[in-house]
Protein backbone atom coordinates (compact mmCIF):
# COMPACT_ATOMS: atom_id res chain seq x y z
CA UNK A 1 0.00 0.00 0.00
CA UNK A 2 1.24 3.49 -0.74
CA UNK A 3 1.41 5.48 2.44
CA UNK A 4 1.35 9.22 2.61
CA UNK A 5 5.12 9.59 2.89
CA UNK A 6 5.82 7.48 -0.20
CA UNK A 7 3.19 9.44 -1.97
CA UNK A 8 5.03 12.72 -1.38
CA UNK A 9 8.34 11.28 -2.54
CA UNK A 10 6.91 9.80 -5.69
CA UNK A 11 5.05 12.87 -6.71
CA UNK A 12 7.27 15.75 -5.72
CA UNK A 13 8.98 15.61 -9.11
CA UNK A 14 5.69 15.81 -10.97
CA UNK A 15 5.07 19.21 -9.44
CA UNK A 16 7.31 21.01 -11.90
CA UNK A 17 5.78 19.20 -14.85
CA UNK A 18 2.30 20.22 -13.86
CA UNK A 19 3.29 23.79 -13.35
CA UNK A 20 1.87 23.79 -9.82
CA UNK A 21 -0.95 26.18 -9.20
CA UNK A 22 -0.54 27.94 -12.52
CA UNK A 23 -2.64 25.09 -13.85
CA UNK A 24 -5.66 26.45 -12.07
CA UNK A 25 -4.95 30.13 -12.30
CA UNK A 26 -5.68 30.62 -15.97
CA UNK A 27 -8.74 32.71 -16.46
CA UNK A 28 -11.04 34.01 -19.12
CA UNK A 29 -13.84 31.49 -19.41
CA UNK A 30 -17.17 31.91 -17.70
CA UNK A 31 -17.98 29.51 -14.91
CA UNK A 32 -20.23 26.60 -15.67
CA UNK A 33 -23.73 26.98 -14.24
CA UNK A 34 -25.48 24.35 -12.14
CA UNK A 35 -27.13 22.82 -15.21
CA UNK A 36 -24.07 22.99 -17.43
CA UNK A 37 -21.84 21.49 -14.77
CA UNK A 38 -23.97 18.37 -14.71
CA UNK A 39 -23.40 17.65 -18.38
CA UNK A 40 -19.60 17.72 -18.52
CA UNK A 41 -18.58 14.32 -19.81
CA UNK A 42 -15.13 13.01 -18.97
CA UNK A 43 -13.42 9.66 -18.44
CA UNK A 44 -11.32 8.43 -15.54
CA UNK A 45 -8.66 5.80 -16.25
CA UNK A 46 -10.36 2.46 -16.82
CA UNK A 47 -13.80 4.05 -17.10
CA UNK A 48 -15.97 5.02 -20.02
CA UNK A 49 -17.03 8.64 -20.28
CA UNK A 50 -19.31 9.49 -17.36
CA UNK A 51 -20.96 12.72 -16.21
CA UNK A 52 -18.42 14.65 -14.19
CA UNK A 53 -19.55 16.47 -11.07
CA UNK A 54 -16.05 17.23 -9.74
CA UNK A 55 -12.48 16.38 -10.74
CA UNK A 56 -10.69 16.15 -7.40
CA UNK A 57 -11.77 14.24 -5.45
CA UNK A 58 -13.33 12.47 -8.45
CA UNK A 59 -17.13 12.38 -8.50
CA UNK A 60 -18.74 10.98 -11.63
CA UNK A 61 -22.26 9.76 -12.31
CA UNK A 62 -23.54 7.19 -14.78
CA UNK A 63 -25.72 8.40 -17.68
CA UNK A 64 -29.26 7.07 -17.29
CA UNK A 65 -29.33 5.06 -20.52
CA UNK A 66 -26.64 2.73 -19.12
CA UNK A 67 -29.21 1.54 -16.57
CA UNK A 68 -31.02 -0.50 -19.23
CA UNK A 69 -28.79 -3.46 -18.28
CA UNK A 70 -29.65 -5.55 -15.19
CA UNK A 71 -26.10 -5.08 -13.88
CA UNK A 72 -24.19 -1.85 -14.39
CA UNK A 73 -20.86 -2.62 -16.11
CA UNK A 74 -17.78 -1.86 -14.01
CA UNK A 75 -16.42 0.66 -16.50
CA UNK A 76 -19.72 2.58 -16.40
CA UNK A 77 -20.20 2.44 -12.62
CA UNK A 78 -20.39 5.77 -10.76
CA UNK A 79 -17.45 7.08 -8.71
CA UNK A 80 -17.77 8.98 -5.45
CA UNK A 81 -14.98 10.15 -3.09
CA UNK A 82 -14.86 12.62 -0.22
CA UNK A 83 -11.08 12.97 -0.02
CA UNK A 84 -8.54 13.44 -2.80
CA UNK A 85 -5.62 11.18 -1.86
CA UNK A 86 -6.61 7.83 -3.36
CA UNK A 87 -3.65 5.43 -3.36
CA UNK A 88 -3.41 2.68 -5.95
CA UNK A 89 -3.34 -0.27 -3.58
CA UNK A 90 -1.00 -3.18 -4.37
CA UNK A 91 -2.54 -6.53 -3.41
CA UNK A 92 0.69 -7.84 -1.86
CA UNK A 93 0.93 -4.87 0.48
CA UNK A 94 -2.75 -4.72 1.40
CA UNK A 95 -3.79 -5.78 4.91
CA UNK A 96 -7.10 -5.63 6.71
CA UNK A 97 -6.62 -4.88 10.40
CA UNK A 98 -9.30 -5.68 12.96
CA UNK A 99 -9.20 -4.27 16.47
CA UNK A 100 -11.06 -1.89 18.76
CA UNK A 101 -11.73 -1.77 22.50
CA UNK A 102 -14.51 -4.39 22.20
CA UNK A 103 -12.44 -6.92 20.22
CA UNK A 104 -10.44 -9.29 22.44
CA UNK A 105 -8.10 -10.57 19.70
CA UNK A 106 -6.73 -8.10 17.15
CA UNK A 107 -6.43 -9.71 13.70
CA UNK A 108 -4.73 -8.99 10.42
CA UNK A 109 -5.56 -10.52 7.03
CA UNK A 110 -4.00 -10.46 3.59
CA UNK A 111 -6.35 -10.69 0.62
CA UNK A 112 -5.26 -14.29 0.05
CA UNK A 113 -6.13 -15.19 3.63
CA UNK A 114 -9.57 -13.62 3.31
CA UNK A 115 -10.22 -15.59 0.13
CA UNK A 116 -8.97 -18.90 1.55
CA UNK A 117 -10.10 -18.77 5.17
CA UNK A 118 -13.75 -17.89 4.70
CA UNK A 119 -16.70 -19.07 2.64
CA UNK A 120 -17.14 -16.95 -0.48
CA UNK A 121 -20.62 -15.71 -1.23
CA UNK A 122 -22.22 -13.61 -3.93
CA UNK A 123 -25.04 -11.08 -3.71
CA UNK A 124 -26.75 -8.77 -6.19
CA UNK A 125 -27.15 -5.37 -4.60
CA UNK A 126 -27.81 -1.77 -5.54
CA UNK A 127 -25.08 0.69 -4.54
CA UNK A 128 -26.91 4.02 -4.14
CA UNK A 129 -25.38 7.32 -3.07
CA UNK A 130 -27.38 8.97 -0.25
CA UNK A 131 -27.42 12.21 -2.24
CA UNK A 132 -28.47 10.76 -5.59
CA UNK A 133 -30.85 13.25 -7.31
CA UNK A 134 -29.82 16.06 -4.94
CA UNK A 135 -29.67 18.32 -7.99
CA UNK A 136 -33.44 17.88 -8.41
CA UNK A 137 -34.37 19.50 -5.09
CA UNK A 138 -36.11 22.87 -5.27
CA UNK A 139 -34.94 25.12 -3.79
CA UNK A 140 -31.41 23.81 -4.47
CA UNK A 141 -29.47 22.21 -1.61
CA UNK A 142 -25.66 22.62 -1.32
CA UNK A 143 -23.58 19.56 -2.07
CA UNK A 144 -22.76 17.61 -5.21
CA UNK A 145 -25.60 18.29 -7.66
CA UNK A 146 -26.19 14.68 -8.65
CA UNK A 147 -28.74 13.82 -11.29
CA UNK A 148 -30.11 10.27 -11.49
CA UNK A 149 -26.84 8.40 -11.91
CA UNK A 150 -25.05 8.19 -8.55
CA UNK A 151 -26.05 4.55 -8.34
CA UNK A 152 -25.39 1.17 -9.91
CA UNK A 153 -26.50 -2.44 -9.56
CA UNK A 154 -23.80 -5.12 -9.36
CA UNK A 155 -23.10 -8.70 -8.44
CA UNK A 156 -20.68 -8.58 -5.51
CA UNK A 157 -18.50 -11.51 -4.43
CA UNK A 158 -16.62 -11.72 -1.19
CA UNK A 159 -16.80 -13.00 2.37
CA UNK A 160 -19.26 -12.29 5.15
CA UNK A 161 -18.16 -9.56 7.54
CA UNK A 162 -19.57 -11.60 10.45
CA UNK A 163 -17.33 -14.57 9.58
CA UNK A 164 -14.26 -12.33 9.49
CA UNK A 165 -15.15 -10.59 12.77
CA UNK A 166 -15.89 -13.87 14.58
CA UNK A 167 -12.22 -14.64 15.23
CA UNK A 168 -11.66 -11.26 16.85
CA UNK A 169 -13.58 -12.25 19.98
CA UNK A 170 -16.36 -9.69 20.07
CA UNK A 171 -16.94 -8.56 23.64
CA UNK A 172 -20.40 -8.24 25.24
CA UNK A 173 -19.83 -4.49 25.39
CA UNK A 174 -19.62 -4.18 21.57
CA UNK A 175 -21.96 -1.50 20.19
CA UNK A 176 -20.64 -0.45 16.77
CA UNK A 177 -17.99 -1.42 14.22
CA UNK A 178 -16.04 1.45 12.65
CA UNK A 179 -14.96 1.20 9.01
CA UNK A 180 -11.95 2.88 7.40
CA UNK A 181 -10.32 2.82 3.98
CA UNK A 182 -6.95 3.75 2.44
CA UNK A 183 -8.05 7.07 0.94
CA UNK A 184 -7.40 10.25 2.90
CA UNK A 185 -7.49 14.01 2.78
CA UNK A 186 -4.63 16.08 1.43
CA UNK A 187 -3.97 17.71 4.80
CA UNK A 188 -3.29 15.74 7.98
CA UNK A 189 -5.92 17.94 9.66
CA UNK A 190 -8.70 16.70 7.35
CA UNK A 191 -10.82 13.91 8.87
CA UNK A 192 -10.53 10.57 7.12
CA UNK A 193 -13.74 9.16 5.71
CA UNK A 194 -14.53 6.80 8.58
CA UNK A 195 -18.01 5.42 9.18
CA UNK A 196 -19.56 3.00 11.66
CA UNK A 197 -22.30 0.38 11.65
CA UNK A 198 -24.46 -0.82 14.52
CA UNK A 199 -23.21 -4.26 15.60
CA UNK A 200 -26.36 -6.00 14.32
CA UNK A 201 -25.86 -4.64 10.78
CA UNK A 202 -22.16 -5.53 10.83
CA UNK A 203 -23.12 -9.10 11.76
CA UNK A 204 -25.97 -9.34 9.24
CA UNK A 205 -25.41 -12.32 6.94
CA UNK A 206 -25.76 -10.08 3.87
CA UNK A 207 -23.02 -7.65 4.90
CA UNK A 208 -19.91 -8.53 2.90
CA UNK A 209 -16.30 -7.63 2.35
CA UNK A 210 -16.28 -7.86 -1.44
CA UNK A 211 -13.29 -8.22 -3.73
CA UNK A 212 -15.14 -8.91 -6.96
CA UNK A 213 -17.75 -6.91 -8.83
CA UNK A 214 -19.62 -8.43 -11.79
CA UNK A 215 -17.09 -11.29 -11.97
CA UNK A 216 -13.98 -9.11 -12.05
CA UNK A 217 -11.69 -7.63 -9.40
CA UNK A 218 -13.07 -4.33 -8.08
CA UNK A 219 -12.01 -1.40 -10.27
CA UNK A 220 -9.59 1.00 -8.57
CA UNK A 221 -12.25 3.75 -8.57
CA UNK A 222 -14.76 1.44 -6.91
CA UNK A 223 -12.57 0.32 -4.02
CA UNK A 224 -9.86 -2.14 -5.12
CA UNK A 225 -8.93 -4.53 -3.61
CA UNK A 226 -11.79 -4.84 -1.10
CA UNK A 227 -14.83 -2.83 -0.10
CA UNK A 228 -17.81 -3.23 2.15
CA UNK A 229 -21.22 -4.17 0.76
CA UNK A 230 -24.08 -3.14 3.04
CA UNK A 231 -27.15 -4.28 1.07
CA UNK A 232 -30.22 -2.12 1.58
CA UNK A 233 -28.29 0.77 3.13
CA UNK A 234 -27.04 3.80 1.22
CA UNK A 235 -23.50 3.73 -0.16
CA UNK A 236 -22.02 6.01 2.50
CA UNK A 237 -21.31 2.84 4.54
CA UNK A 238 -19.84 0.87 1.60
CA UNK A 239 -16.24 1.84 2.45
CA UNK A 240 -13.81 1.44 -0.45
CA UNK A 241 -10.15 0.30 -0.23
CA UNK A 242 -11.10 -1.14 3.18
CA UNK A 243 -8.15 -1.28 5.62
CA UNK A 244 -9.47 -1.20 9.19
CA UNK A 245 -12.43 -2.44 11.21
CA UNK A 246 -12.70 -1.56 14.90
CA UNK A 247 -15.23 -3.11 17.23
CA UNK A 248 -16.25 -0.35 19.63
CA UNK A 249 -18.06 -0.21 22.95
CA UNK A 250 -18.98 3.46 22.46
CA UNK A 251 -20.63 5.33 19.58
CA UNK A 252 -18.04 6.36 16.99
CA UNK A 253 -17.89 10.15 17.07
CA UNK A 254 -16.04 11.09 13.88
CA UNK A 255 -17.25 13.91 11.64
CA UNK A 256 -18.78 11.57 9.05
CA UNK A 257 -21.10 9.99 11.63
CA UNK A 258 -21.70 12.76 14.13
CA UNK A 259 -22.18 15.66 11.69
CA UNK A 260 -22.53 14.45 8.12
CA UNK A 261 -25.00 12.08 6.48
CA UNK A 262 -27.73 12.87 8.97
CA UNK A 263 -31.47 13.34 8.44
CA UNK A 264 -34.34 14.71 10.55
CA UNK A 265 -36.09 11.95 12.52
CA UNK A 266 -39.58 13.37 12.15
CA UNK A 267 -40.08 12.67 8.44
CA UNK A 268 -38.25 9.43 7.60
CA UNK A 269 -38.67 5.80 8.69
CA UNK A 270 -36.70 4.64 11.73
CA UNK A 271 -33.01 4.30 11.02
CA UNK A 272 -32.17 1.21 13.09
CA UNK A 273 -29.08 2.97 14.41
CA UNK A 274 -30.11 4.10 17.90
CA UNK A 275 -26.55 4.61 19.20
CA UNK A 276 -26.07 7.44 16.67
CA UNK A 277 -29.41 9.17 17.15
CA UNK A 278 -30.11 12.43 18.91
CA UNK A 279 -33.54 13.71 19.87
CA UNK A 280 -34.07 15.21 16.42
CA UNK A 281 -31.59 13.64 13.98
CA UNK A 282 -30.31 10.22 12.92
CA UNK A 283 -27.87 8.85 10.39
CA UNK A 284 -29.25 8.05 6.94
CA UNK A 285 -29.39 4.26 6.69
CA UNK A 286 -31.99 2.32 4.68
CA UNK A 287 -32.68 3.08 1.04
CA UNK A 288 -36.22 4.36 0.34
CA UNK A 289 -38.47 2.76 -2.29
CA UNK A 290 -37.80 4.37 -5.65
CA UNK A 291 -37.93 3.91 -9.43
CA UNK A 292 -36.44 5.35 -12.59
CA UNK A 293 -37.50 5.43 -16.24
CA UNK A 294 -34.34 4.51 -18.15
CA UNK A 295 -35.23 4.72 -21.84
CA UNK A 296 -37.08 8.02 -22.22
CA UNK A 297 -35.76 11.52 -21.67
CA UNK A 298 -37.77 14.51 -20.50
CA UNK A 299 -38.79 16.55 -23.53
CA UNK A 300 -38.14 13.73 -26.00
CA UNK A 301 -39.98 13.97 -29.33
CA UNK A 302 -41.05 10.93 -31.36
CA UNK A 303 -42.71 10.56 -34.71
CA UNK A 304 -45.00 7.75 -35.90
CA UNK A 305 -44.84 6.10 -32.50
CA UNK A 306 -47.68 3.54 -32.36
CA UNK A 307 -46.19 1.44 -29.62
CA UNK A 308 -43.72 2.79 -27.07
CA UNK A 309 -41.97 0.50 -24.63
CA UNK A 310 -41.40 2.29 -21.34
CA UNK A 311 -38.59 0.66 -19.37
CA UNK A 312 -36.98 1.25 -16.04
CA UNK A 313 -35.73 -0.05 -12.73
CA UNK A 314 -37.19 -0.03 -9.20
CA UNK A 315 -35.65 -0.74 -5.81
CA UNK A 316 -35.98 -0.41 -2.05
CA UNK A 317 -34.12 -1.36 1.14
CA UNK A 318 -34.55 -5.10 0.65
CA UNK A 319 -38.24 -5.72 1.28
CA UNK A 320 -38.46 -6.23 -2.47
CA UNK A 321 -40.53 -4.55 -5.17
CA UNK A 322 -44.18 -5.65 -5.22
CA UNK A 323 -45.30 -3.59 -8.20
CA UNK A 324 -44.47 -0.70 -10.49
CA UNK A 325 -47.21 1.41 -12.04
CA UNK A 326 -46.90 3.71 -15.02
CA UNK A 327 -49.07 6.70 -15.87
CA UNK A 328 -49.17 8.47 -19.24
CA UNK A 329 -51.66 11.17 -18.22
CA UNK A 330 -49.86 12.90 -15.36
CA UNK A 331 -51.03 10.51 -12.66
CA UNK A 332 -54.77 10.21 -13.36
CA UNK A 333 -54.67 6.59 -14.52
CA UNK A 334 -52.05 4.02 -13.58
CA UNK A 335 -51.10 0.79 -15.36
CA UNK A 336 -49.23 -2.11 -13.84
CA UNK A 337 -45.83 -2.74 -15.44
CA UNK A 338 -44.36 -6.21 -15.92
CA UNK A 339 -41.50 -6.99 -13.54
CA UNK A 340 -38.52 -8.74 -15.10
CA UNK A 341 -36.17 -11.29 -13.54
CA UNK A 342 -35.72 -11.16 -9.76
CA UNK A 343 -32.01 -11.21 -8.86
CA UNK A 344 -32.66 -10.99 -5.12
CA UNK A 345 -34.30 -8.51 -2.78
CA UNK A 346 -31.31 -6.13 -2.65
CA UNK A 347 -30.96 -5.90 -6.42
CA UNK A 348 -32.94 -3.40 -8.38
CA UNK A 349 -35.78 -4.89 -10.42
CA UNK A 350 -36.19 -4.10 -14.11
CA UNK A 351 -39.71 -3.40 -15.39
CA UNK A 352 -41.45 -2.60 -18.67
CA UNK A 353 -44.82 -1.42 -19.91
CA UNK A 354 -45.95 -0.88 -23.48
CA UNK A 355 -47.76 2.37 -24.19
CA UNK A 356 -50.04 2.47 -27.25
CA UNK A 357 -50.94 6.13 -27.74
CA UNK A 358 -54.28 6.72 -29.52
CA UNK A 359 -53.34 10.13 -30.92
CA UNK A 360 -50.40 12.53 -31.29
CA UNK A 361 -49.75 15.06 -28.56
CA UNK A 362 -47.96 15.66 -25.34
CA UNK A 363 -47.89 12.95 -22.67
CA UNK A 364 -46.88 13.22 -19.03
CA UNK A 365 -45.16 9.94 -18.13
CA UNK A 366 -44.75 8.87 -14.51
CA UNK A 367 -43.55 5.70 -12.76
CA UNK A 368 -44.25 4.67 -9.18
CA UNK A 369 -42.89 1.68 -7.28
CA UNK A 370 -44.40 -0.02 -4.23
CA UNK A 371 -42.42 -2.36 -1.99
CA UNK A 372 -43.57 -5.63 -0.41
CA UNK A 373 -43.99 -3.71 2.85
CA UNK A 374 -46.63 -1.58 1.10
CA UNK A 375 -44.59 1.61 1.01
CA UNK A 376 -44.74 3.72 -2.14
CA UNK A 377 -43.03 6.82 -3.52
CA UNK A 378 -44.24 10.35 -2.68
CA UNK A 379 -45.15 12.80 -5.45
CA UNK A 380 -42.74 15.39 -4.05
CA UNK A 381 -39.33 14.75 -2.43
CA UNK A 382 -39.12 14.89 1.36
CA UNK A 383 -37.26 18.13 2.20
CA UNK A 384 -34.15 17.75 4.38
CA UNK A 385 -31.14 20.05 4.89
CA UNK A 386 -28.56 17.92 3.06
CA UNK A 387 -30.73 16.79 0.16
CA UNK A 388 -30.73 13.04 0.81
CA UNK A 389 -33.32 10.37 -0.02
CA UNK A 390 -34.85 12.00 -3.12
CA UNK A 391 -37.42 9.39 -4.08
CA UNK A 392 -40.23 11.45 -5.59
CA UNK A 393 -42.17 9.95 -8.47
CA UNK A 394 -40.38 10.86 -11.69
CA UNK A 395 -42.37 12.96 -14.14
CA UNK A 396 -41.28 13.36 -17.75
CA UNK A 397 -42.99 14.81 -20.78
CA UNK A 398 -42.77 13.29 -24.26
CA UNK A 399 -44.09 14.74 -27.51
CA UNK A 400 -45.62 12.46 -30.12
CA UNK A 401 -46.05 13.77 -33.65
Amino acid sequence: MVDRRDFIKKTASSLAALGGLALLQRSGLAAATRAEASTIVDALSGKEALIKQTSRPPNYETPTHYFDAPFTPNNQFFVRYHNAVIPEVKIGDWRLRIGGDAARTPLEFSLDQLRKDFEQVEIAALCLCSGNRRGLFEPPVPGLQWGFGAMGNALWRGVRLKDVLAGAGIDKSALEVSLAGADSGVLPTTPNFVKSLPLAKALDENTLIAFEMNGEPLPHWNGFPARLIIPGWTATYWIKHLTALNVLSKPFDGYWMKTAYRIPKDRFPSGQFSSQETETAMPITEILVNSLITNLADGQAMTNAKSIEIKGVAWDCGDGIARVEVSTDGGVNWHQAALKQDYGRFSWRQWRWVFEPKHPGQYRIMARATSHSGVSQPLEPIPNPSGYHHNAVQKITIHLA
Binding site: A12, L21, S27, L29, A31, T33, R56, A84, V85, V186
Partner: protein, 91 residues
Protein backbone atom coordinates in the same frame (compact mmCIF):
# COMPACT_ATOMS: atom_id res chain seq x y z
CA UNK B 1 2.82 32.22 -2.43
CA UNK B 2 2.59 31.19 1.19
CA UNK B 3 1.74 27.57 0.57
CA UNK B 4 4.39 25.21 1.89
CA UNK B 5 6.11 23.07 -0.73
CA UNK B 6 4.87 19.90 0.96
CA UNK B 7 1.25 20.84 0.37
CA UNK B 8 1.97 21.87 -3.18
CA UNK B 9 3.26 18.41 -3.87
CA UNK B 10 0.04 16.90 -2.56
CA UNK B 11 -1.91 19.19 -4.82
CA UNK B 12 0.10 18.17 -7.86
CA UNK B 13 -0.17 14.52 -6.94
CA UNK B 14 -3.92 14.55 -6.76
CA UNK B 15 -4.72 16.87 -9.67
CA UNK B 16 -6.44 15.17 -12.58
CA UNK B 17 -6.17 16.00 -16.25
CA UNK B 18 -9.57 17.66 -16.71
CA UNK B 19 -9.09 19.91 -13.73
CA UNK B 20 -7.25 22.63 -15.64
CA UNK B 21 -10.45 23.37 -17.55
CA UNK B 22 -11.98 25.10 -14.54
CA UNK B 23 -11.27 28.81 -14.56
CA UNK B 24 -12.30 31.22 -11.89
CA UNK B 25 -13.19 34.85 -12.56
CA UNK B 26 -10.12 37.07 -12.58
CA UNK B 27 -11.11 39.44 -9.76
CA UNK B 28 -9.49 40.50 -6.49
CA UNK B 29 -9.21 37.59 -4.10
CA UNK B 30 -8.82 34.93 -6.76
CA UNK B 31 -5.21 34.19 -5.79
CA UNK B 32 -6.20 33.45 -2.20
CA UNK B 33 -9.13 31.30 -3.33
CA UNK B 34 -6.99 29.23 -5.69
CA UNK B 35 -4.14 28.89 -3.20
CA UNK B 36 -6.32 27.81 -0.27
CA UNK B 37 -9.21 25.92 -1.87
CA UNK B 38 -7.32 24.06 -4.61
CA UNK B 39 -4.94 22.68 -2.01
CA UNK B 40 -7.53 20.01 -1.27
CA UNK B 41 -10.09 20.01 -4.06
CA UNK B 42 -10.76 21.06 -7.63
CA UNK B 43 -12.36 24.42 -8.26
CA UNK B 44 -15.44 22.93 -9.93
CA UNK B 45 -16.75 22.59 -6.36
CA UNK B 46 -16.97 26.40 -6.44
CA UNK B 47 -18.48 26.88 -9.89
CA UNK B 48 -21.05 24.13 -9.23
CA UNK B 49 -22.43 26.14 -6.30
CA UNK B 50 -22.63 29.50 -8.08
CA UNK B 51 -26.42 29.42 -8.36
CA UNK B 52 -26.94 27.78 -4.97
CA UNK B 53 -25.01 29.65 -2.27
CA UNK B 54 -25.61 33.25 -1.25
CA UNK B 55 -23.18 35.17 1.00
CA UNK B 56 -24.44 33.44 4.14
CA UNK B 57 -24.10 30.08 2.37
CA UNK B 58 -20.51 30.81 1.32
CA UNK B 59 -19.68 31.97 4.88
CA UNK B 60 -21.03 28.68 6.22
CA UNK B 61 -19.16 26.65 3.60
CA UNK B 62 -15.82 28.35 4.17
CA UNK B 63 -16.36 27.98 7.92
CA UNK B 64 -16.97 24.25 7.45
CA UNK B 65 -13.75 23.92 5.45
CA UNK B 66 -11.79 25.58 8.27
CA UNK B 67 -13.52 24.09 11.30
CA UNK B 68 -14.50 20.61 10.09
CA UNK B 69 -12.15 19.90 7.21
CA UNK B 70 -9.02 21.37 8.80
CA UNK B 71 -8.20 24.01 6.19
CA UNK B 72 -5.40 26.23 7.60
CA UNK B 73 -6.91 29.56 6.50
CA UNK B 74 -6.26 32.61 8.68
CA UNK B 75 -8.93 35.21 9.41
CA UNK B 76 -7.63 37.74 6.88
CA UNK B 77 -7.65 35.22 4.03
CA UNK B 78 -11.00 33.88 5.19
CA UNK B 79 -12.57 37.32 4.73
CA UNK B 80 -10.99 37.77 1.28
CA UNK B 81 -12.17 34.32 0.18
CA UNK B 82 -15.74 34.78 1.40
CA UNK B 83 -15.95 38.18 -0.31
CA UNK B 84 -14.62 36.78 -3.58
CA UNK B 85 -17.01 33.82 -3.54
CA UNK B 86 -20.05 35.89 -2.54
CA UNK B 87 -19.35 38.60 -5.13
CA UNK B 88 -18.42 36.33 -8.05
CA UNK B 89 -20.20 33.07 -7.33
CA UNK B 90 -23.05 34.19 -5.08
CA UNK B 91 -26.68 33.45 -5.79
Amino acid sequence: MRMPILLLSFFAATATAGEGQVFLKDRPGKNQVVAQCAMCHSLDYITAHATILDRAGWEKTVGKMINSMGAPIDDADKRVIINYLAQNYGK
